[in-house]
C-alpha cells in the first residue's frame, strides 16, 4: 500500500513530462492526461478504503526517516479529498477535450494545455499529502505556477489583465507563507508538521500567535477568505470555462485544507476560533451580496464561491470534531457542485454566446438538457433538500447548535440567510437565462453570429450543437453531486472519522514519528 502513495504525485508529473514531449500529437496528449488522472482516481479510491480500514499511512520519501526526510501522509481527510479532486479533475479534463474537439483546434492546439493541467493536478495532490510544511509550500508553488499559465492561456488582453491581478496576489501570499516558514524554522528548528505540533506548544504564547496568524493570512489569501478575497471574482471569470471550473473547485479548497491542518494539528488550541468565526460570517455575507449584484453568470458564481468558503470556515472555527466533520463534508460537496455550476455556465456560454443574463433568454426551449444540468447543482448549492448542500449545511448547523455559543447561533442565522440569498441569486440567473422567452429580452439579438465574426468560435453558427462529450462530462459531475446525497451516510461517516482523527494532533504525531498508526 505504501508504494501507491508516491505514485499519486509521480504519475501526473511524469505524465506531464511525457505529454510535453508529444506536443505534435494532441490525441496522444489527451490519452496520456486522461489515463494518468484515471489511474490516480483508482489509486485514490484504493487508498481511501485502505486508510479507512487500517488507519493512516505515512511514507518517508527517499529512505530518510521522518524528521529529516520528506513525509507523505494519507489520512482519511487527505484520501477523501484526493478521490474527489481526482474525479473532478478527470471530468473537467474530459469536458475540455470535448471543447477542444468542437472548436476544431486539432491543427492549432495550445500544446501546453494538457501538460500544464497535469502539473496543476500534481500540485493539488501533493498539497493534500504533504506532511512537511516546506513540501506544502512547494506544492502550492507547483499548482500556482501551473494556474498562472492556465489563467492566461491564449494571451488575450482580458486574460492578461485578469492574470496579472491573480498572479501578483498569489505571489504576495506565497511570500508571506515562505516568511512564515522561515519564522517557524527559526523558533522550533523543524518544518515537519508532526514535529512542529509538538514543539510549537512549548513556545511562548505571543510567538505562537504571530506564527499562527501569518500562516492563516497566507492560506486565507489562497482560500479567498473575506478581506483577502477581492482578487477572486476579478480574475476567475475571464479564463476558459474548464479552467475556471477546476480553479473554483480545487484551488480555494487547497487553501481551506491547509487552514484545517493548521488549526487542527499545528495549533490545536482554540485560541483564534472566535476571529475565524467572525471572518466566516463576513465571508458568507459580503460574498453573497456581491453575487446578488452581478449580471454575468460566471462572475455571479465566483462570488458565491467566495461566500461558501465561509461555511467551511464556520466548521473549522467551531473547533469540535462534529464541526470538522461537517466542514469536511461541505468541502467535498462544494468542490463537486461549484465545479459543476461553472461547467454548466460554460455550456450556457457556448449555446447562448454570452454569460450575461441580460442578453440571454429562451434557453430552456433551445436546450432543455443544459437547463436541467444547471438547475440541479443550483438547488444543491442553494441548500434545498435532499441535495448535498442541504446535508452539509444541516451538519454544520447541528455542530453549531451543539456548540451553543452566541457566535455559533449568529453564524447559523447568517448561514441560513446566505443560503436563501444564494438560491435567490442563482434562481434569478436561471429563470432569466432559461425560463423567459427570447423575445422578452430587450433588443435581443442572437449573439452567435457576432461570435463567429470575432472568430472565437467558427462552428457554432452552422450547427449550434453542443458536443456530447461536454454535456456528458457535465452530466457526470451532476451525477457525482447527486451521489453525494445517495451515499451521504457512508460518506458522512468517513468525514466524521476524519474529523475525529484530526481533532487531536496526537494521532498524527505518533503516525509520522513512529510510522505506525493506531
Amino acid at each position: 500500500m505504501t508504494v501507491l502513495v508516491p505514485l499519486v504525485v509521480l504519475l501526473p508529473l511524469l505524465g506531464a513530462a511525457v505529454a510535453l514531449t508529444q506536443a505534435k500529437h494532441p490525441r496522444l496528449q489527451t490519452f496520456i492526461a486522461v489515463g494518468v488522472l484515471g489511474v490516480v482516481l483508482i489509486i485514490g479510491v484504493i487508498l481511501l478504503f485502505a486508510v479507512d480500514d487500517h488507519g493512516a499511512i505515512a511514507v518517508a520519501i527517499g529512505g530518510w526517516d521522518a524528521p529529516v526526510g520528506i513525509v507523505l501522509v494519507v489520512d482519511r481527510l487527505a484520501a477523501l479529498l484526493l478521490v474527489i479532486s481526482a474525479a473532478v479533475l478527470l471530468s473537467v479534463l474530459v469536458f475540455s477535450v470535448g471543447q477542444g474537439l468542437a472548436d476544431g483546434d486539432r491543427e492549432t492546439p495550445v500544446s501546453i494545455y494538457y501538460p500544464t493541467y497535469l502539473i496543476l493536478a500534481t500540485g493539488v495532490f501533493n498539497a493534500f499529502l504533504a506532511g512537511d510544511l516546506f513540501n506544502l509550500y512547494v506544492s502550492f508553488e507547483i499548482l500556482l505556477v501551473a494556474s498562472y499559465v492556465l489563467i492566461t492561456v491564449g494571451g488575450t488582453e482580458l486574460r492578461i489583465r485578469a492574470g496579472v491581478t491573480y498572479i501578483v496576489v498569489s505571489l504576495v501570499s506565497s511570500v508571506i507563507f515562505l516568511a512564515a516558514i522561515a519564522m517557524i524554522y527559526a523558533s522550533v528548528g523543524t518544518v515537519n508538521i508532526a514535529q512542529l505540533a509538538v514543539r510549537i506548544g512549548e513556545l511562548p504564547h505571543d510567538i505562537q500567535l504571530v506564527l499562527h496568524v501569518m500562516l492563516l493570512v497566507a492560506f486565507g489569501i489562497k482560500a479567498a477568505v473575506f478581506p483577502l478575497s477581492f482578487w477572486l471574482p476579478d480574475s476567475y471569470p475571464t479564463a476558459p470555462a474548464p479552467v475556471t471550473a477546476v480553479f473554483a473547485g480545487l484551488l480555494t479548497k487547497v487553501g481551506v485544507y491547509a487552514i484545517m491542518r493548521t488549526e487542527m494539528i499545528m495549533f490545536p488550541g482554540n485560541e483564534l476560533n472566535t476571529p475565524i468565526m467572525i471572518v466566516a460570517a463576513l465571508t458568507m455575507i459580503v460574498g453573497i451580496l456581491g453575487a446578488v449584484a452581478q449580471a454575468d453568470i460566471k462572475r455571479l458564481l465566483s462570488f458565491t464561491l467566495v461566500s461558501h468558503i465561509g461555511y467551511m470556515l464556520f466548521g473549522i472555527g467551531l473547533g469540535t470534531a462534529a464541526g470538522l466533520a461537517a466542514a469536511t463534508y461541505y468541502v467535498v460537496h462544494h468542490i463537486t457542485v461549484q465545479t459543476t455550476l461553472f461547467l454548466a455556465a460554460g455550456l450556457v456560454e457556448r449555446q447562448g454566446g454570452t454569460t450575461s443574463i441580460n442578453r440571454l433568454g429562451g434557453m430552456l426551449k433551445a436546450s432543455p438538457m443544459i437547463g436541467v444540468l444547471f438547475f440541479i447543482p443550483l438547488l444543491s448549492l442553494g441548500g434545498i433538500p435532499p441535495f448535498s448542500g442541504f446535508l452539509g449545511k444541516l451538519a454544520l448547523f447541528e455542530a453549531g447548535a451543539q456548540d451553543g455559543s452566541v457566535l455559533a447561533w449568529v453564524l447559523i442565522a447568517s448561514g441560513a440567510l446566505v443560503s436563501l440569498l444564494t438560491l435567490y441569486a442563482l434562481a434569478r440567473a436561471w429563470s432569466m437565462t432559461f425560463w423567459r422567452d427570447a423575445d422578452e429580452v430587450a433588443d435581443y439579438d442572437n449573439p452567435l453570429p457576432v461570435l463567429s465574426q470575432v472568430g472565437v468560435v467558427t462552428e457554432v453558427k452552422s450547427t449550434r450543437s453542443i458536443p456530447r462529450i461536454m454535456v456528458g462530462a457535465t452530466a457526470a459531475m451532476v451525477a457525482l453531486s447527486i451521489s453525494l446525497t445517495v451515499f451521504a451516510g457512508p460518506l458522512y461517516n468517513v468525514s466524521s472519522r476524519a474529523g475525529d482523527n484530526i481533532d487531536g494532533p496526537e494521532y498524527y504525531i505518533t503516525l509520522v514519528v513512529t510510522g505506525e498508526s493506531e
Binding site: F134, V138, E141, V145, Y148, V149, T152, G155, T156, E157, I160, R161, A162, G163, V164, T165, I167, V168, L171, V172, S174, V175, L178, A179, I181, A182, M183, Y185, A186, V191, D234, A293, Q294, A295, D296, R299, S356, I357, N358, R428, M432, A442
Partner: protein, 203 residues
Amino acid sequence: MSVSLVLVAVMAVLYSCGVYLLLERSMTRVLLGFLLVGNATNLLILVVSGRAGAAPFYGESDPLADPLPQAFVLTSIVITFGVSAFLMALIYRSWRLAHADVVEDDTEDVAVGRRDVSVAAEPEIASDDTEFGTRATAAVSTAVDLAEQERLEEAERLEMLHRFEEQLRREVEPLDTASLDAEPLDAERLDPDHTESTDGDRP
C-alpha cells in the same frame, strides 16, 4: 543565536523597497518589487538559520552551518526565477497588446459601480448619483477607451504643432519684413539654392 546585523538591515531595506514597488501600477515595477521581496525573504531564511559555520557534510570540525535553510533558499530562488521569467513574458505580451504595462481597472467593476449592468439594463442617466459619481465615467474612459486617449494625444500633438508653427511664424515674420526692407542680396541669401555659397555668413 547570533544574528548578523548587516543582513537584517539589508533585509529590511529590501522588504520596504519591494513593498513600495509592489504597490505601483506599472507591471515592470511590480516585477522588480517581487524580486526584491523574494530576495528579502531569502535573506530572512538565512538570518534565521543561525550563525555561520563550516560546510556541512564535509569535515568533522564543528560548528557546522545548518544546511536545511540553504536548501530552502535554493528552492525558493529557483521558484522566483521561474515566476519572474513568466511575469516578464506576460509584461511583454501586455505591451504588445495594449502598449501599456500598467494594471488596468476591471471594466466590470467600474460598470457595476456605474450600475449600468443591472438586471433592468437601465440607461446611464443615473450615473452621477451612484457612489462613484461622475468619477466613474472618468475612470472608464481612462481605463478602457484607448482610442479616446489616442485622439486626445493626437489633438495635443496637433495643438503643439500649431503653437510651434505660430511661434516660428512670429519669429520669421520680422525677419521677412526686415529682409524686404534690406537689399535684395540679403533676401537671396535665404534662398536654399544659394545656401552653399553663403554658408559661412549665416548666424
